[in-house]
C-alpha cells in the first residue's frame, strides 16, 4: 500500500498546455503539501492545505492552482505551462497537533512527478 501516491509519475508536454498532477494519501493525515524540486535539487514549498483549507501559499504564479476535494487528496493544476515549470513536483502529507505544530515533524513524500515542458 502506497502511503502518498502521485500520478502521473512522468509528464511531457508542450508550452502553453494545461496539465494536472494528482495526489492521494491513505495515512489519515490532515495536512498536505506540494513541493517543487528544480534541476539543482533545490526543494521549495508551494502550497499547504490543512483539512481542505489553504494555509500556505508561497510566491507561486497564479497559473498554479491547488485543489483539495477532501483531506486525503490534493491536486495541482497548472495553466499555460512554461519552460521554467519543468521540475519534479512532490506531494507530501503530515499530521498536526492542535495549534498548527507538526505532530512529529515528519512529512511523508510521494515519489514525485517529473514534469518536462518542451
Amino acid at each position: 500500500d502506497t502511503a502518498v501516491s502521485q500520478t502521473p509519475k512522468y509528464l511531457v508536454t508542450q508550452m502553453g498546455n494545461d496539465k494536472s498532477i494528482k495526489c492521494e494519501q491513505n495515512l489519515g493525515h490532515d495536512t498536505m503539501y506540494w513541493y517543487k524540486q528544480d534541476s539543482k535539487k533545490f526543494l521549495k514549498i508551494m502550497f499547504s492545505y490543512n483539512n481542505k483549507e489553504l494555509i500556505i501559499n508561497e510566491t507561486v504564479p497564479n497559473r498554479f492552482s491547488p485543489k483539495s476535494p477532501d483531506k486525503a487528496h490534493l491536486n495541482l493544476h497548472i495553466n499555460s505551462l512554461e519552460l521554467g515549470d519543468s521540475a519534479v513536483y512532490f506531494c507530501a502529507s503530515s499530521a498536526r497537533l492542535a495549534g498548527g505544530r507538526l505532530k512529529t515533524g515528519e512529512l511523508f513524500f510521494g515519489e514525485g512527478s517529473r514534469l518536462t515542458v518542451l
Binding site: 502518498v4 503539501y33 539543482k40 535539487k41 533545490f42 526543494l43 521549495k44 514549498i45 499547504s48 494555509i55 500556505i56 512532490f90 507530501a92 498548527g100 505544530r101 507538526l102 512529529t104 515533524g105 515528519e106 512529512l107 513524500f109 510521494g110 515519489e111 514525485g112
Partner: protein, 116 residues
C-alpha cells in the same frame, strides 16, 4: 526567516568509512531540525529530527545528528557507510511556533557517493 545551508554539494566516501554531512541553519528561536534522504527516483524519507532535549539524536539506518546551538549546526554522522547509503541528503528547519511551524525549509542537499 529560516534558512539552511549545506556547504558540501557532493561527498565521496569509501564503503566502511565514517561520514559527516554538514548543515548550518539560521533561525531566531529554537528550531526544529530534520535530516531527510532521497534515493534516486524516490521521494524524501525522514532520517531523524531534533525538537528539544538531548542534542544528540539517533535516527534510522544507523544515522545520528548533533545539534550545536553555539555553531548553529546540525551535522549528520554515520560511523560506517554502506553502499546503499548513496543518495541525496537534505537538512531542513521548521519554525517552532506560529506560522513557521507550518512548513519546512530545505537546504540544497548533499549528494553522497559511496565507492567500494
Amino acid at each position: 526567516a529560516q534558512s539552511v545551508t549545506q556547504p558540501d554539494i557532493h561527498i565521496t566516501v569509501s564503503e566502511g568509512a565514517s561520514l559527516e554531512l554538514r548543515c548550518n541553519y539560521s533561525y531566531g528561536a529554537t528550531p526544529y531540525l530534520f535530516w531527510y534522504v532521497q534515493s534516486p527516483g524516490q521521494g524524501l524519507q525522514l532520517l531523524l529530527k531534533y525538537f528539544s532535549g538531548d542534542t544528540l539524536v539517533q535516527g534510522i539506518k544507523g544515522f545520528e545528528a548533533e545539534f550545536k546551538r553555539s555553531q548553529s549546526s546540525f551535522n549528520l554522522r554515520k560511523p560506517s557507510v554502506h553502499w546503499s547509503d548513496a543518495a541525496e541528503y537534505f537538512c531542513a528547519v521548521a519554525g517552532s511556533n506560529g506560522a513557521g511551524a507550518n512548513n519546512l525549509f530545505f537546504g540544497t542537499g548533499t549528494r553522497l557517493t559511496v565507492i567500494p
